[in-house]
């Protein structure tokens, strides 16, 4: 293949702006983080020499392990809830809506407002004197405002699931829209009722969209900082909050860096396992 060398050179040339930005904005800070994590804090500077002490601390302390587990748990729950909400919406638009484009716009309009604004909106909805509580009080269903709505993992899951829904709807919609309708007719023709057909054709063929959506939500929400700090309370705080504490309040940068890197590796591993499992599940649906 004579043209391959030239092609790949053109490819790299086209990619070079992207590569440059990625190098500066991603690789360099990561490298800095890695270097920092191998130091130890001494006053306002770093002590001389290299050490793995931070990693020992991160992996050894149960309070950190609980935070990691909670972050992964909350964001897994967010991913699940979002997918369960987004899939039917995407399905409706792809298969039953008449004005698809209008529906897509309508579904994404809430996401044109700022993320912060949406988090505050949930704070108002779930709060002690919030929409839900005053509504229930007005209806005399309760006589004391419920305090269990806000400042816990539940509030974090609800807020994050809402905040990320659009990011799930779009990739799922695209993968559903791409499915050749004659495949669905063929499945009916071969004896499948609506449910079997969905499980054997529609779901497996929309798996790329579902996997994409899951990754798109799971990865950033694990490291989310704003939502847990605003609606999570102590019981709903996540690993990013601890990283912030280490950098800004305690001033232990190496420990913060080690926490950040460990959580990154953890997310990557879980995402990898998830993709493998989802692929296998799609294969098994014959």
């Amino acid at each position: 293949m004579a043209g391959t060398g030239g092609n790949s050179r053109t490819g790299y040339a086209l990619l070079s702006p992207t590569l440059a930005v990625m190098g500066l904005a991603l690789a360099a800070p990561l490298l800095l983080l890695a270097v920092t994590s191998l130091k130890s804090q001494a006053g306002i500077g770093f002590a001389d020499g290299w050490t793995l002490a931070q990693y020992g601390e991160v992996l050894g302390r149960s309070s950190y392990r609980i935070l990691f587990a909670r972050s992964v748990g909350i964001s897994a729950a967010v991913t699940l809830v979002t997918l369960l909400l987004a899939y039917p919406m995407a399905y409706f638009v792809a298969f039953h809506a008449r004005h698809k484009f209008a529906w897509l716009i309508a579904l994404t309009i809430p996401f044109w407002t700022s993320y912060l604004l949406r988090v505050f909106a949930w704070k108002i909805i779930l709060g002690y004197g919030g929409v839900i509580n005053s509504g229930l009080l007005r209806l005399h269903l309760i006589d004391q405002p419920l305090s269990m709505l806000l400042y816990n993992p539940f509030a974090v899951v609800v807020t994050l699931a809402h905040a990320w829904a659009a990011f799930a709807i779009l990739p799922i919609y695209v993968s559903l829209e791409k499915i050749d309708r004659s495949l669905l007719e063929a499945a009916s023709d071969l004896g499948d009722g609506a449910v079997r057909r969905f499980l054997r054709i529609t779901l497996p063929l929309s798996m790329p969209g579902v996997i994409g959506a899951a990754i798109l939500i799971f990865v950033p929400t694990t490291g989310d900082y704003v939502t847990p700090s605003l609606v999570g309370g102590p019981a709903g705080s996540m690993i990013a909050n601890m990283i912030e504490v280490q950098f800004n309040r305690v001033g232990n940068w190496p420990l913060g860096a080690a926490l950040a890197l460990v959580s990154m590796v953890l997310v990557a591993v879980i995402a990898g396992l998830f993709v493998t499992a989802a692929r296998a599940a799609a294969k098994a649906a014959r």
Binding site: S182, L183, E185, A186, A187, G191, R286
Partner: protein, 352 residues
């Protein structure tokens, strides 16, 4: 009642009738073709039989059971789709086994049935092949096997050979016919390729603009088309305007203008209720026109060599369209004379 019985079925899209009061009766074990130009409603009719469209009116029954309200997955039919619709996430084996999984067969039974079907469509050993690694002909065979393995009462084929090149199409035609004989299932094939319909089927229904024009065997259709459109659609044919002079039980005498006064068997006028003084069309196939010294004088305007016989266009005085003749004669520009054997002339009602 016939095996597949379609009665007064009509379907309109947006007010426009696409299938218009169609009646059709197909017998068990027949290889039946639905032939017609693109857009005439063939696929729509087939989809109503499969259950993907509901007729606006009329009934469809298979083997005595009315199908109108039966959903596709409960009908005793299977379909080979125009696009094949091979499931992209499944390999060849799983595609073919798709419609059998519900039967809860043992692993060995399932394998045996799929393997037997792979052999029938000559795809032995390709069970493990991924769907996207198949050639056009192989995809066609998988689609056929996937439908046949369910042992449907009626197999519906929507232009199954349309996407194949000419050679492969001819091979597959022979195989399709052989497979139909072997499995004995009733085949209903949709095509716009008249040669395909003529060479494959026991009977053919010719469709045009949502209506069925004629239902007949290939030979009948070719030799006794019942209207101008059918005659035109099946092979090549020449038309002459004529007026009926006299009809008896055995013969009809017509004034055929350029051809003079002709007496032909009255059977050649068919059962159109043609009467004395009616204006009619006389039709004759190119291979039935003969070159002979004492015929109508003309000049060859084009000659196409086709092997044993050649194809000619002959210009005759007083007629703008050339006459198509197949036979043997001189080169372009030669003067010839044509004979139109009366027993080969078919009388059809004239549209005007």
């Amino acid at each position: 009642m016939s095996f597949l019985s379609i009665s007064q079925v009509t379907k309109a899209f947006g007010g426009l009738p696409v299938v218009n009061a169609v009646d059709l009766a197909i017998e068990r074990g027949e290889f039946f073709a639905l032939l017609g130009p693109s857009g005439c409603g063939k696929t729509t009719l087939l989809r109503m039989i499969a259950g993907f469209e509901t007729p606006d009116s009329g009934t469809i029954s298979i083997d005595g059971d009315v199908m109108n309200n039966v959903p596709p997955h409960q009908r005793p039919t299977n379909m080979v789709f125009q696009s094949y619709a091979i499931f992209p996430h499944l390999n060849v084996f799983d595609n073919i086994a798709y419609g059998l999984r519900k039967l809860k067969l043992s692993k060995d039974q399932l394998r045996a049935r799929v393997d037997a079907m792979l052999a029938t469509v000559r795809l032995e050993g390709l069970g493990g092949r991924a769907a996207d690694q198949l050639s056009g002909g192989q995809r066609q065979r998988v689609a056929l096997a996937r439908a046949l393995v369910r042992e449907p009462k009626l197999l519906l084929l929507d232009e199954p050979l349309g996407a194949l090149d000419k050679r492969l199409r001819e091979t597959m035609q022979v195989e399709l016919r052989a497979i139909q004989r072997k499995v004995g299932v009733t085949f209903l094939l949709v095509t716009h390729d008249q040669e395909e319909a003529l060479s494959l089927s026991d009977r053919i229904a010719v469709m045009s603009a949502g209506k069925i024009l004629q239902i007949a065997t290939p030979r009948e259709l070719y030799e006794r088309p019942n209207c101008r459109e059918v005659a035109d659609f099946i092979g090549e044919i020449n038309f002459f305007h004529a007026t009926v002079r006299e009809i008896t039980d055995t013969t009809a005498t017509v004034n055929a203008g350029l051809l003079g006064i002709v007496t032909l068997p009255s059977a050649n006028l068919g059962s159109h209720g043609i009467k004395r003084d009616d204006h009619i069309l006389l039709a004759i196939r190119p291979e039935h026109v003969r070159f002979a010294p004492d015929g109508v004088a003309g000049e060859i305007t084009s000659a196409t060599f086709l092997g044993e016989r050649s194809h000619f266009h002959v210009k005759i005085a007083g007629r703008s369209e050339p006459v198509s003749v197949s036979g043997n004669a001189g080169p372009q520009g030669s003067a010839v004379a044509l004979i139109f054997p009366p027993e080969r002339l078919i009388g059809l009602p004239s549209a005007d």
